[in-house]
């Protein structure tokens, strides 16, 4: 079954979820497919090895998904988090696609499971991958190999050879020139490129290079080489380079690949102070799952791009256990000394907060009535006095999951030059996510976007070489709304 021709029909550059979806779809359509993954096999899959679930539209309960999550509600959620910086037709296509893609995913070996304990709030909206993203990536690679996709690891691509908006060949780092009839770019954003991040975020009013203190939650391989190449080659782009999936994570996380476990979930149960021992935002504004994606940027704006989540013993056992132990102390001033901030200022901030806490009935599973009065910034829910030793501090830093700067595209996933789509060059995954996500984030939507554009790009790349996918057009017609 395996075809190894000197000139494949479809060249897929990348090795994560979107690239794999493209490769599988193109191969299903009958095209010969060569996939180039820049990482070695043990690091394959890009950021997809860290993902957890897929946000899915559904009009009625579906296996692991309870109740219903209709198109309109999904759209409204997306509209809210992006503040309207999105493309409605493309967003709706992604949403509708998410309602019908799971049988195909299962066919290629992906297993779904009910939501994880501690993540029940998304039981209705998100389908969880059994074993997480790496299990999904493994399944897709096995399936791709089984149906005859040729896969090469350790194969970073340096540049492309383009002619009049058409793909001709890819040049690898090792100097090989690989020609193909069509190409899909599924090789990620530029989040792992620290130099580019530094340049994009620039210097703040304190003279700090903000991005120097960022941590990258995902792969080290998304250097944005081809994104940069495409921008320089005159491809139409979309998105702001400082917009990204950016959350506050434990400052002790590794520079790359810290993944899900480095998140800190006790923010809403205590207070957060910066290096000056000042609070800077309402920790209890809403449920943490709805707020974690704004805290990365909030911390990025603080001096030293760092902050500490402070709790007392009452919070223990009420949040997902953290991967790193907190700094512990029996008094607040001792805690301040241990984390290296001014004890007097810290104790004063905490005293002011404690004095402002109003009596109420604490309930961390609801938007309760425990709030502060006369404090700026206020804490509007779960505001309980922090007075019960031991006290704990968790250091925070901005953690970048993926960047939104990418290729402008349309419902065909084609790259565009001079306001015209390319015949044979397509993009998927993080490279086009910015079309739907101008800013903000909501759990699992990255996989909805990656899977939709990955599959569409693969089908269209194969079609541009004369291979029609046997079943996808009906599915796509539904998703595209015509």
């Amino acid at each position: 079954m395996k075809k190894s021709s000197p000139m494949p029909d479809v060249l897929v550059i990348g090795g994560g979820n979107a690239a794999l979806c493209s490769a599988l779809m193109a191969r299903e359509a009958g095209a010969s497919v060569l996939m180039l993954e820049s990482a070695p096999k043990e690091w394959r899959g890009g950021n997809s090895m860290h993902v957890r679930n897929l946000r899915c539209m559904h009009d009625e309960p579906q296996d692991v998904l309870v109740e219903a999550y209709p198109e309109e509600e999904f759209w409204q959620d997306l509209l809210k988090v992006t503040g309207g910086i999105t493309d409605e037709p493309l967003a709706r296509m992604v949403i509708r696609h998410s309602s019908r893609c799971r049988p195909w995913m299962r066919k290629h070996g992906v297993h779904f499971q009910p939501p994880l304990s501690g993540a029940l709030h998304v039981a209705r909206t998100n389908a969880f991958f059994m074993g997480g993203g790496k299990a999904l990536v493994n399944a897709y690679y096995r399936s791709a190999e089984a149906i005859g996709v040729e896969i090469r690891y350790d194969s970073p691509v340096k540049s492309l050879e383009l002619k009049d908006g058409r793909f001709i060949a890819a040049m690898t780092e090792s100097g090989e020139r690989i020609t193909a009839k069509s190409c899909v770019l599924g090789c990620g954003g530029f989040e792992s490129n620290l130099e580019w991040q530094r340049e994009a975020w620039g210097q703040n009013e304190r003279g700090e290079w903000t991005a120097e203190n960022f941590l990258i939650r995902g792969t080290r391989f998304n250097q944005g080489v081809l994104l940069k190449f495409m921008i320089d080659a005159g491809a139409e782009t979309i998105g702001d380079p400082t917009q990204a999936h950016c959350v506050a994570i434990d400052a002790r996380a590794p520079l790359y690949d810290g993944g899900i476990c480095t998140r800190i979930d006790c923010v809403s149960l205590g207070v957060v102070v910066n290096r000056e021992a000042e609070r800077f935002y309402d920790e209890g504004e809403d449920f943490w799952p709805k707020r974690y994606a704004i805290w990365g940027r909030l911390v990025a704006q603080q001096p030293g791009q760092t902050a500490w989540s402070i709790i007392d013993r009452k919070a223990i056992g009420r949040f997902m256990p953290p991967v790193f132990d907190g700094t512990q102390a029996n008094t607040l001033s001792e805690l301040a000394v241990k984390i290296g901030i001014d004890p007097a200022a810290f104790v004063e901030t905490l005293a002011a907060y404690n004095a402002a806490c109003q009596p109420g009935t604490f309930d961390h599973t609801a938007l309760d009535d425990c709030r502060t009065e006369g404090l700026t910034p206020a804490k509007t829910h779960w505001a309980r006095v922090i007075d019960t030793p031991p006290f704990y501090a968790y250091p925070l830093r901005p953690g970048i999951t993926f960047t939104y700067l990418g290729m402008k595209t349309d419902a065909t996933a084609a790259c565009r030059f001079g306001n015209a789509p390319s015949d044979n060059l397509f993009a998927a995954g993080e490279m086009v996510a910015g079309n739907v996500l101008g800013k903000g984030y909501t759990a699992g939507v990255g996989m909805s976007i990656g899977t939709a554009f990955g599959r569409i790009a693969g089908v269209n790349a194969a079609a541009s070489t004369g291979h029609r996918h046997p079943t996808f057009h009906e599915e796509l017609a539904y998703a595209a709304g015509h």
């Binding site: 994880l116 991958f129 907190g326």
Partner: protein
């Protein structure tokens, strides 16, 4: 720490401190499990694979007893290793199956009775070799001492002409009873160490009492079906790589039911002998011979398959030092079944006494090593599954409230 029973009570250590008070009392293997479980507990992607991870989520910290419990819940299916974003070469070096395997064998050792005999696990290959050579020598010597020779005129398959029935029944009965007592004491110690009802909360004690019967039913079902060799999705375990296969479960089923059928053959024969006064040799069409033959086939197919899988298993997920224990037990089972068939085929010839001595010698070696070898895994894992099935029916007092 045990499952949290009262959140307002002081928590020894707490979720957020160094946990040093427990770590200090731990072995390196237990501390490694505790370290890994703290990472897993913050991730939880593998929750759907097996019982280990749901049991983990009921805890915030992991003391030595918790690591023993989790180690014996793990069936080493491998799913969580290939799915792990933190597995080597990631700097977190998370390898759940290997870390649990290392603690697991220590639990067999530490809970062995008499305690000193636990050291036999450290020389598992030698233990099997001694038991086997000792068993063979014993029955060769007995045969010669009682009959003067090993080769004789054909005796129409009458084993008792060589060794009297009551002598065999007494000898094997005593050894088997000892094995049962030794394993029973060991598993009881294990059971008492981690108890879901250890808290003083009356509601917990009542819930545990209510849970017991349905938990027993489910645990028996889990063991009989070898549920957790299915990998959560039913496609099986990993062996050489991230692909799933059901062969490990199938070969385990051959082995388990082969063993039980052979045991049933012995029980039926004992009933025939004492209750109905029907004495061996039994015809090929008799119940003991049919049960024994079916069981023997299972004990040939199963162990050969398990040996084959053990040879090609990914070294990353195994504890290399346990190969002697694993393969020693597999080889003993295989020898018992092969020599059993040889005896069945040659029982009408002049070599019957020789093969009877060989077969009884291997059976004796198996019985002697039951409490000090790989056989213990079935007992301890069943106990851990029962504990899990009770625990999961009890109220979870952790109120994590969503991440």
């Amino acid at each position: 720490m045990p499952p949290v029973t009262d959140l307002e009570a002081p928590v020894a250590g707490g979720a957020c401190d160094g946990g040093v008070n427990f770590a200090a009392a731990m072995t390196a293997g237990e501390a490694e499990v505790a370290r890994i479980m703290q990472i897993c507990n913050a991730c939880r992607y593998c929750e759907g694979f097996c019982a280990v991870f749901p049991a983990m989520t009921r805890r915030l910290e992991f003391n030595a007893a918790d690591t023993h419990y989790l180690a014996n819940l793990c069936h080493n299916c491998g799913s969580c290793l290939y799915a792990c974003q933190y597995a080597p070469p990631h700097e977190f070096m998370v390898n759940v199956p290997q870390a649990l395997a290392k603690v697991r064998v220590r639990t067999y050792q530490d809970y062995a009775w008499p305690r000193a005999f636990g050291a036999l696990y450290e020389r598992a290959g030698l233990t099997v070799a001694f038991a086997l050579s000792g068993g063979l020598a014993l029955f060769m010597i007995l045969a010669i001492a009682m009959n003067g020779r090993l080769i004789h005129e054909p005796l129409k398959g009458n084993f008792y002409a060589i060794f009297p029935h009551n002598f065999l029944a007494a000898l094997f009965g005593i050894v088997f009873l000892f094995a049962l007592v030794a394993l029973g004491i060991g598993v009881l110690k294990f059971w008492r160490e981690v108890s879901p009802t250890r808290g003083d909360h009356p509601a917990d004690i009542a819930a545990a009492a209510r849970a017991r019967m349905p938990a027993v039913v489910e645990a028996v079902n889990d063991v009989a079906r070898l549920r957790y060799l299915g990998g959560g999705h039913g496609e099986g375990c990993n062996e050489g790589d991230d692909a799933f296969t059901l062969w490990r479960r199938r070969f385990h089923h051959f082995t388990l039911y082969g063993f039980l059928l052979c045991f049933a053959a012995t029980c039926v024969a004992t009933l025939y002998h004492y209750l109905f006064n029907l004495h061996a040799p039994y015809a090929f069409s008799s119940a003991p011979v049919i049960l024994g033959t079916l069981g023997g086939i299972g004990l040939i197919v199963g162990p050969i398959g398990l040996l084959w899988l053990s040879l090609k298993r990914d070294a990353l997920r195994s504890d290399a030092s346990q190969k002697a224990m694993d393969r020693g037990f597999i080889m003993l089972l295989l020898l018992v079944s092969i020599t059993g068939f040889a005896l069945l085929l040659l029982r009408d010839t002049s070599a019957m006494a020789l093969w009877l001595a060989i077969h009884l010698g291997t059976v004796m070696a198996l019985f002697l090593t039951l409490p000090y070898g790989k056989f213990a895994h079935g007992i301890f894992r069943s106990a851990a599954l029962l504990k899990f099935n009770i625990e999961k029916r009890m109220p979870n007092r952790l109120g994590l409230g969503g991440e």
